[in-house]
Each structure stands twice: as C-alpha cells, then as structure tokens.
C-alpha cells in the first residue's frame, strides 16, 4: 500500500482490486478460519435457539473520543444480541465506502473492529463491500449482522417483565452522545467525555449467571436514550414505571454540559449500557455482578415496575415531585450511531 492510497471505484468491482482489498484489509485484520475460506456464506454451529439482529452505522464523524464507527459497528450488534441473552456466534459486516476514502483510515477502522470483536468475543465471519462514487455516500457506512446462541431457557423480553421487578442500569448516561457531538466541533468549549461504546456480552453473561431466571428483560439504551427504553417498556408491558432521578448515574461532565446545552441525560444515546428488569429476589446479586466488571462499575438500581399509572414512566425528582418521562421527539441528534 502506498502513502495516500485511496479507495477506487474498482475496489468494489469484484475483480482484482476487490480481491486485494479483501486480502490486504479485511482478511489481514479479521483473520479467522471461517472468513479465510472466503465462501459466499459462513457455516456456523449452534446448539439451540438462535438470535439474529442487524444494525446500520452512519455515525459522523467516523472517529470520536472513546471509539469509532468500527468499534460501534461491532459493539452495537453484539449488544443487540446480548439483549436476547444470546452469546455472539458470528458477525457479518457490509461496507459501503465512498470513492476516494483513504485506505489508511479503513485500516484503522478495521483494526478497531477486530480489537472490539476480540473483546466481545466474536469473529467477523463474512462480509461484503460496495464502493459508490464520490458524493453518493459520506465516507463510510457499516452494516453488521449478528447471529447468537440464546443461553437461557426462560424468556428474556418485555413480555416477561412483571410488576415489582427492579430496574437496574449498568452505568452512566449520555457519554456516547456528547462524545460524538464534541468530536463534531459543534461546541465552543472542550468537553472531557469519552464514548462508552463497548461490547456487553461479558457483562450480560455475568448478570445472567448471577440472576438466572430472575433476569426478565434486557435492553440497551442507544438512540432515544434511557427515556425511550423506559417508555417502550411501560408501553409494551402495560405496567407503570417509577424512576428515581437521584439514583441515575450521570458523570459530572455530562451533567454540566447538559445543563449548559439544555439536553436531558435521559434522552441521550449510549453505546455501552444495559437496562435490566430483575425480580426483586435476584436484584442484589445481579447488581453485584454488574459492579464486579469494569463496564458495570457504576451500575445502579434506578427504579421499579409498578401496577400504578399503566403505560407511563414517572420520574421522582429530588424535590419529591413527579414528572412524566416521554420518548424524545424529532431529530435531537442525527447520525449519532
């Protein structure tokens, strides 16, 4: 590869340039026996029920404090599998690359994907690449699809959550959204925030090991933030949710940036957090398991599912008053993931 090498339209042609790209970039970084066969489809072995999920990633800019589009593409799909209590078996990655994209940046992003996959752990077992002419895409879009093996026999879903369940959150709110905004240079101040972007299968596996069948529901509060997860859970279960504002973990930097910019930390995107609904008898054990891992060090008990005010989320303020938490509307922060 020469200095300043760039992606050409020919790299998406399926011909020689394409083969070079696959060998020098994708195989070099994602090195694993299944991918190395270069078959059109990867063969995987699963013992029982499987989970399947897909996620397109269009974050702008491609690199931000604490992560990049590659880390996001792997973690996002691993975390979606984790919400179904599924251990990741393999990922497929589809790249849409704009003509002229620098080869060196593609290498960096693929190295980041490989490192995140190793962390998960999961292998990137198949993929596809299309190159579009300059202006037809903004640099690089990555779609990842994941297959996972569901490791529990009980149902982990909104339908399994019941009144009395304790809500746990695995850590601080809003770090990802503000890290991406800061990287766009939109603010006229510096912001010491790192994206929380991380694969969470290890965290979820630990929670399931500690809580077993008491773990009823898992969801990652990405776009739309915790507010959306809670509003959806209330709507899907027909139960009410009480949340304690004092209990919500928010870093000092995010808190002050939010008060300056008028954002609500509940509405901001996260890429390395999990919300869990756990039967009360399992809550302490699961909270302990979350806190025992770095990704869950600031895990907290944030609220309860209740029979009152069905379908609504009530936030208890530090003043003993309550307000409703709704899903945020509109395009608060486009292209955050």
């Amino acid at each position: 590869m020469s200095d300043g090498a760039r992606i050409l339209l020919g790299h998406g042609s399926g011909g020689r340039l394409y083969r070079d790209l696959v060998r020098d970039v994708f195989l070099a970084h994602f090195d694993n026996p299944v991918l190395a066969r270069l078959d059109d489809a990867a063969a995987l072995v699963a013992a029982g029920r499987i989970a399947l999920t897909t996620d397109a990633h269009v974050v702008q800019p491609l690199v931000f404090a604490g992560g990049d589009i590659g880390r996001l593409a792997v973690a996002g799909t691993v975390n979606d599998l984790a919400t179904a209590a599924a251990r990741p078996l393999g990922l497929a990655a589809a790249f849409v690359i704009e003509e002229g994209f620098e080869m060196a940046r593609l290498h960096e992003i693929c190295a980041s994907m490989a490192a995140t996959a190793a962390e998960a752990p999961v292998a990137i077992v198949t993929g596809d690449t299309k190159v579009v002419q300059r202006g037809a895409a903004d640099g690089l879009f990555i779609t990842t699809t994941g297959v996972g093996e569901i490791v529990v026999d009980h149902e982990v879903a909104a339908a399994a959550a019941v009144a009395g369940d304790v809500l746990l959150l695995s850590g601080t709110l809003g770090d990802h959204a503000l890290a991406v905004l800061a990287a766009r240079g939109d603010f006229h101040f510096t912001l010491d925030v790192q994206s929380d972007c991380a694969p969470l299968w290890g965290l979820v596996e630990a929670a399931l090991a500690a809580g077993g069948t008491t773990v009823h529901f898992l969801r990652d509060p990405t776009r739309g933030g915790l507010a959306t997860v809670l509003a959806e859970l209330a709507e899907e279960t027909g139960l009410g949710i009480d949340v304690d504002e004092d209990a919500l973990p928010v870093s000092a930097a995010v808190r002050s940036a939010c008060s300056l910019l008028g954002y609500d930390p509940l509405a901001l995107a996260n890429e390395g957090k999990m919300v869990l609904a756990v039967a009360p008898e399992g809550a302490e054990a699961v909270l302990g398991a979350l806190r025992g891992r770095t990704e869950g060090a600031r895990a907290a008990r944030i609220g309860t599912l209740v029979a009152q005010h069905p379908g609504r989320v009530a936030l208890r303020t530090p003043y003993g008053t309550r307000r409703v938490v709704d899903m945020p509307v509109g395009e608060l922060l486009p292209r955050i993931c």
Binding site: Q308, G320, T321, D326
Partner: protein, 366 residues
C-alpha cells in the same frame, strides 16, 4: 447556591414549599413569562409544590411560540430561493408555517442548518462564499446581542453573503399589551432571568407603577422559582424585585444594551397570540440595513393561515391552559404538532403535555 438536586437543595426547596403553603392560602394567578421557566416548572414538577389556591400560567416568553405565522412563511419562502442557506436555532425547524415548515423544505432540498451559536453562521458564510447565508434571528433581549455580535463579526470579516432576518422581540411591550387586553387575571409575574441579565429589572417597573402588578426576576433552579413565588406571595404592595441577584442587577448589562442599540432599532412587531405591538420588535438599524435579509431578497410568502382550531394565541396570553384547547393531546402532540407551543421544548403546551400525562392516570404527589 447549593448544587441543584443535592440533599441540601432538596431540603431548601421543601422549606420554601412549606413557607409558600403558610402564606399562599389566597387565590393567586402568577404568570411565568419565560419559556425556560415553563420548562423548569415542568421538569422539577413544581406545580406539585404549590398551595391549593396558587396557579401558574405560562406567558409569551417562548421565542419560537410567539413568532408569527406570517414571519415563518417568510423564512420558508427564503429557504426556497436558489443559492440561499438558512441558519437557525433547532426548535424553529419543526414549527409549522402556513403551508410547510423548514423540516419539510429541507427534505425537499432546501439548505437549512441548525447552529448552536450565531457566530457559527458567520463561519458557514465564510466557508461557502458562493451561497447566501441568512441567519434567522429569533428570541428576546437575551439572544439579540449574540446575533448583533455575529453581524459585527461578519462585517469585520467583509462577508457580502451574510444577512440577518431579524424576528427579535422585546419583552416589556408584550407584557404591557397583555395587561392592556385585560383578558386574564394576573396577580404577579415571574420575570425572565436571562432577559433581565441584559435589560436589568428597571425596565419592568411600569408593571407595578402603572398596572399595580408586582413581579420578581427569577433564576431557573427549583429553589430560584419557589423563592420568587414566595417573594411575590409576600409582597404587601406591588413591586418589582430581583430574586436572582447572582446574575441580575437593576440596570442590566450596559455592553449588551449598547450593542443592541447600535445594531438594531425598535420596530412594530406581530406576535403570535398578541397581534401587532408597537415598538416591540427589533430590526437592523440604518447603519446595518444592508445586512437585512428583507432588503436583500424579495419573496412572496402568500397570506398567512393559522392552523384551524389551534388556540396557541390564547395559551400565550394565559387566557386558557393548554389542556383547554380541543386539539391538545389529540390532534396536537409533540410528535405531530399543530401549533408552535407544542413544538418548542419551551412551549407551554409541550411542557403541559408531559406533565399532564401523569395526572390523567391518577398520579400526583408521591
């Protein structure tokens, strides 16, 4: 000031609520003028802490909400001109105009940029010299100096492709019009904190001296708002007081006042809900008229049409509460807003919608 949300802050707020309960047994309707106060009241659930006879209504202090439909139509028409980029604050993008919105125009190909600060619009103009950049200036005495500042920077940098559509408004005239209309009972005002940082509190003295209505300039924490309500409730005769002394003085910020006076001049303005109010708007002064978008471009926005059934106007005058509007929560929601008061996060309809939802399901004080 103790940190908001800390246990000492919560204890102070509980103390203020108890004090309010002791003095506030009379029927009182207070108006919070500023949209940021409307948000704070909603966000902290402060209505739960008011004594039974005390009522808070929202006033005409949400910049997006008071922007006349006819003015929004002009913005939409400008966005359709070839080679024109519109720069504006985020909330304005989704507000319905007579027949469109900036969000709709953007989807159809218009170049509409959201800026966090007016100076960002100057940078946009410098970066794209082949396009005409129109900064839509909305808001009150708080935002006017920042738009004026951006204009001074643009002139200094010699950017011929930068202009401003000034829809700025000034607060005292609106409060006068509100009281002149005599439509709604207002026993006192929670006066805008950010506006008063610039104007000072003296410009509101006429409320007490001419109309016999008191006011307290308030900050934006739960403590600030309840402190101001307590000061109002304890007034023996109408007066204008400052409950936000860490930021506001009687005379205000002279530098900001001077830049407003230099770049703008008063003009008549149409307020949604209040109609035309003499000298309640700001247009570019003669020295800066060359930067006025209305001078630079000719557009025909057509006749303004208020959305059928929308009672934003009465909400903005404090005549009705948002739930009294037949569209509220039915045809008009934050997702599908009919009127501006449901769009802006500072709008009283949007704030009421969030709060009201819990009341409907039998909630209340925990």
């Amino acid at each position: 000031m103790t940190p908001p949300g800390s246990s000492s802050d919560a204890a102070r707020v509980a103390g203020l609520a108890a004090a309010l309960a002791r003095v506030g047994q009379l029927e009182r309707t207070y108006m919070e003028v500023c949209g940021t106060h409307t948000m704070a009241v909603s966000r902290y659930g402060l209505r739960d802490l008011l004594p039974p006879g005390m009522r808070l209504v929202s006033g005409p202090g949400c910049p997006v909400c008071v922007t006349a439909v006819g003015d929004l139509d002009v913005v939409v028409a400008l966005s359709r001109l070839p080679g024109v980029t519109i720069a504006t604050f985020g909330d304005l993008v989704r507000v319905p105009s007579s027949r469109s919105s900036l969000a709709v125009e953007r989807a159809a190909g218009a170049d509409v940029r959201v800026v966090y600060s007016p100076v960002d619009a100057v940078d946009l103009a410098a970066a794209e010299p082949d396009r005409q950049l129109v900064l839509v200036g909305i808001g009150f005495e708080t935002t006017a100096p920042t738009v004026a500042g951006a204009l001074l920077v643009a002139r200094e940098r010699g950017l011929p492709n930068f202009s401003v559509l000034s829809l700025h408004k000034t607060m005292p005239g609106a409060l006068r019009a509100l009281l002149d209309s005599g439509e709604s009972r207002i026993d006192g005002f929670i006066l805008p904190g950010h506006v008063s940082v610039v104007t000072g509190s003296d410009c509101f003295r006429f409320l007490a001296s001419e109309y016999g209505v008191g006011g307290v300039v308030a900050g934006f924490t739960a403590d600030d708002v309840l402190t101001a309500l307590l000061m109002l409730a304890r007034q023996e005769r109408p007066a204008i007081e400052i409950g936000y002394r860490r930021a506001v003085t009687a005379a205000g910020n002279r530098v900001a006042q001077d830049v407003i006076a230099r770049v703008f001049e008063p003009c008549d303005a149409v307020w949604r809900g209040l109609g035309a109010i003499p000298d309640s708007g700001l247009r570019l002064s003669a020295e800066f008229r060359a930067y006025a978008a209305e001078e630079r471009f000719t557009v025909d926005p057509g006749a303004p049409e208020e959305p059928a059934g929308c009672r934003c106007g009465e909400v903005l005058r404090g005549v009705i509460d948002p739930p009294d509007c037949p569209l509220f929560g039915r045809r008009c929601t934050p997702e599908m807003p009919v009127g501006a008061c449901m769009v802006s996060s500072e709008g009283s309809c949007a704030a009421h919608f969030r709060y009201r939802a819990l009341d409907l399901s039998g909630g209340g004080r925990v």
